[in-house]
């Protein structure tokens, strides 16, 4: 991997970088659409590439079950299997193991779980996770970490953090001797729950191992913790992580979350949200999400966003026909997915452009103003951005919304 920071925001911690991997260049910060099962919901890889996406995510847990390693080895990896010619990232499989399988127990050896096919006890070790990811062949691979819910408290959090460091060593050792280091790049995952002390210790230990890792993910978040805690942990990690390594915030997808994370110094994020929400008929726009199921869109012949370059909007697909077909026809999900992926890319692309132009604080203020309008801003966003020197409320008299403050078009009344 080549990683170069090419511009930094003078106010916030945001930066623009160029990340060169085996399947091309990805400009950061970027959002990665999730292709859990080696397909972005209903789209072909050619369509995804034409949207300007250069990095997507596959889930190791799922690909290991289906199509399985034998198929992936035969075909020469997940890129070839799904016809994706750009960069690819895989997770370690650990998160899904814990969230999808009830009977997973963690031992020092690895994660012990019941095979979904046979029910047999099966062990996923750090070495095994890396081997699976080698077979998948993603450009960026993740260490196996000991995942605990962000709501967990007590000694288990510390144990998980320390084990994650030990497992990182096993992953790097296994990766080192694999001969795949030139094409696949291993990221460490910072753990430590919501405890700043534990996070610091984890950061120290993992930064010591910097020469063995290509980048750092911030794990253990996005599991229902308070947003106010969330951003403080992100900030703590991003502040401390080395300049010359990409920083990846896992499971982040709401536009306001993305921009706060970018301002705090995050380079990459992924989430199923924009593709999942599309299937329910929710289109993301710069003036907030639109729920196309609502009757108020039934006779609206405008596209989702007149200025959007996606095929759906530039092809003048109207809200009315999307209303008519959404949740009934898969093609409505395709159309909105094409748009939502483009929207995410635009949010990040405009962030990059603003950072280069030295106008990132203005971009943040404009984005929040367009996106939330007069409805008020999430209080946590205001606080988080103040911590890096941007006051969203400058010259405004708006109410602050406590809690997550996500903006939704719930009903016909809104």
């Amino acid at each position: 991997m080549q990683f170069e920071v090419i511009a930094k925001c003078k106010t916030t911690k945001a930066r623009v970088s160029r990340m060169t991997l085996s399947h091309g260049v990805t400009m950061l910060p970027t959002f990665m659409p999730v292709a859990t099962q080696a397909a972005i919901k209903g789209l072909t890889p050619e369509q995804v590439e034409s949207l300007g996406v250069t990095l997507i995510l596959n889930n190791t847990y799922h690909l290991n079950l289906r199509p399985g390693l034998k198929v992936l080895n035969e075909v020469g990896g997940a890129h070839k299997f799904q016809g994706w010619e750009r960069n690819l990232l895989t997770d370690s499989g650990g998160f899904q193991l814990v969230s999808l399988s009830k009977f997973t127990t963690i031992t020092e050896e690895g994660a012990l779980f019941a095979s979904p096919f046979t029910g047999e006890p099966t062990m996923l070790t750090p070495e095994e996770s890396i081997s699976i990811q080698h077979a998948i062949g993603a450009d960026i691979i993740m260490q196996l970490d000991d995942v605990v819910s962000s709501l967990t408290t007590g000694p288990r959090v510390e144990e998980a953090m320390e084990r994650s460091v030990r497992w990182l060593d096993r992953c790097t050792a296994h990766h080192e001797q694999s001969g795949k280091k030139d094409r696949q790049n291993l990221f460490a995952i910072v753990q430590g729950g919501l405890d700043p002390g534990l996070r610091d210790r984890c950061l120290d230990a993992m930064i010591q191992r910097k020469n063995d890792v290509a980048g750092y993910a911030i794990g253990g978040l996005s599991g229902g913790e308070e947003k106010d805690t969330f951003w403080r942990i992100i900030k703590q990690c991003a502040d401390k992580l080395p300049e010359d390594r990409p920083r990846y915030s896992m499971g982040i997808g709401f536009a306001e979350d993305l921009l706060v994370c970018v301002a705090l110094g995050v380079d990459m994020a992924d989430c199923v949200f924009p593709t999942r929400t599309a299937r329910f008929g929710v289109a993301l726009t710069h003036s907030g999400p639109l729920n196309l199921k609502l009757n108020k869109h039934a006779r609206d012949f405008d596209p989702i966003d007149k200025n959007c370059p996606c095929p759906t909007c530039s092809g003048k697909t109207s809200r009315a026909i999307l209303h008519h077909t959404t949740t009934h026809e898969t093609s409505a999900a395709h159309a909105i997915t094409l748009h939502n992926i483009t929207f995410q890319a635009q949010v990040m692309g405009r962030a990059r452009a603003a950072i280069i132009a030295g106008t990132f604080p203005e971009y943040l203020r404009k984005f929040f103003s367009d996106y939330f309008g007069d409805a008020g801003y999430p209080e946590w966003c205001v606080n988080a951005l103040r911590s890096v020197g941007v006051d969203l409320l400058e010259g405004k008299d708006l109410k602050l919304i406590p809690g997550s403050g996500a903006k939704w078009e719930y009903s016909d009344a809104s």
Binding site: A38, E74, V75, G315
Partner: protein, 552 residues
Amino acid sequence: MSGHSPIPGLFFSLLTPSATRFGPRLGNVLLKRDEQTEIQIQTPSYLASTSRGVIPHLSRDHYASSGIRWVNIPFESFLDVLPPVPTLVDGKNSLHTFLGYSLGQHVVSMAVRDPADGREMPPNGNAHVAAYSLRGVRKVTPTEWKSYVYSCKPDIVFALADIPLTHPPYSQKRLTKSIERSASWLASLISPLPNNKYRPSVLVHMAGTTSVPARRAFAESLIEKLFGPEAETIKPLQTLDQGVTGYTFDLIPIRLSLEAAEKRHQDPFYPPAESIPPTPPPTIDSAPTPLSEVNLDPTIPAHTDQLSPLLQASLEPLSTTKLRLVNSVQTPHEILRLISSVGIDIFDAHWAQRAGDVGVALDFTFPAPSSHSPALKARENNKLDIGHNLYCSSYTHDFSAFGSASCGCRACSPVAPATRIYHGVDDPSFSGESSTIPSQAPAEPRVKPSFSRAYAHHLLHTHEMSAHSLLVLHNLSVLDQFFGGIRTLLQDRPEKWDQEVKRFEEIYDEELKVFEEARVMWRDVDLARGKGRLVREKAKQEEGTLGTAVEL
């Protein structure tokens, strides 16, 4: 072909005079939209079926890359809220605009009902057809239909027809009513609207169900010179037939009626109409699934042999030069036979699209290959499948393309995008990547390796919608090539036609066991995914028969 017809409109011409009234024939559908735009469809060919106005599983950007030239829109899905939303679209090509079809590529036709929907319906009235929308049954009057047509301005319209879909068999009285209503509704559609430049090209559904005399009577009523108030209605036309571009046959009501007659014949106590609820026949006995009540694809026995005399009875009195269209054909074998014995020009693609819903990749050619393709499964009757049930585990490690023959569809020959969207600081000046070799632009598009059967197998089992997109693209392409093969043979070696049809029937299994097996596995994968999904799938199949439910 410019100069072929100086005025805008839709024209059908026979390229080869058919040797007999009902023999195979080559033709050309020419749609002249304006000075610059025309679309030609060499026949025999196909039209793509739609659900809620869209071709299931395809994105609009796939419409252009597919070979689709004609799409048919069942209008009933737009009737849940009146006025129907497409009638509110501005412009002179409102259907194309609203639904995303290309003026230069797609002929768009409009019918009130989905011809693939054979569910029992409330009876039609003297002045209405019972149609089906998501919010229940809607009555459509001839006047309303005409106003929808004039608002939407489709390239072709199917006249409102009184097709009985109450429980067959039908009395003679019912058939007489059906004929009279259909003729009168046709008259109302073709009577010119004053001060309106738009003139719809009309296809008439040939009424009479399974009665030869009734069918003939309807056909004759089309060419009778009208008198009195009826003549006044259609002035300056003198007969209904003069206002008609072609003739169309919906096979489902005919098959249902034949099936009822057969059962009645076999069983004198077969309950008469109205007394029994419609129980769709079970699909497969060997289905391992206990959910026998979930019959998403009721199979109607084909009765193909009985169809030809009925279709011929309708066409017998009429001119041979008009377009002949058939809806809800079931197999390629049936297509060949209806070309042979009736001279049909256009067939719907519903069955091939539905194959994509249930995981079948079509793989057959006409003429049939001279050596047996080992890739296809041979049945007990020693015949080959016309496609692959990609749910089957034998495809897990099969990295070949969907079909045995080369195929230009976007699944078999994916094309690397020539351009991409840039979003900010990601263009070549920042990334340092060359933008798809600008020196060679506009270079030949780069064709990527085919998507494999193994990949589609994986997508089907993981319930990824992309599987259906790829399969529908491929299946329509196979169908396109099939019709291409038919036309080439008719052009170059017409004397070989009967022989090649026979050989095709001998080589390929017409019982479509591969479809049955695929449907069972498709249902089982759905079951494994949980009940909510299955319930939505069932609802989807009830509201329209194409497409699969969106996984939420």
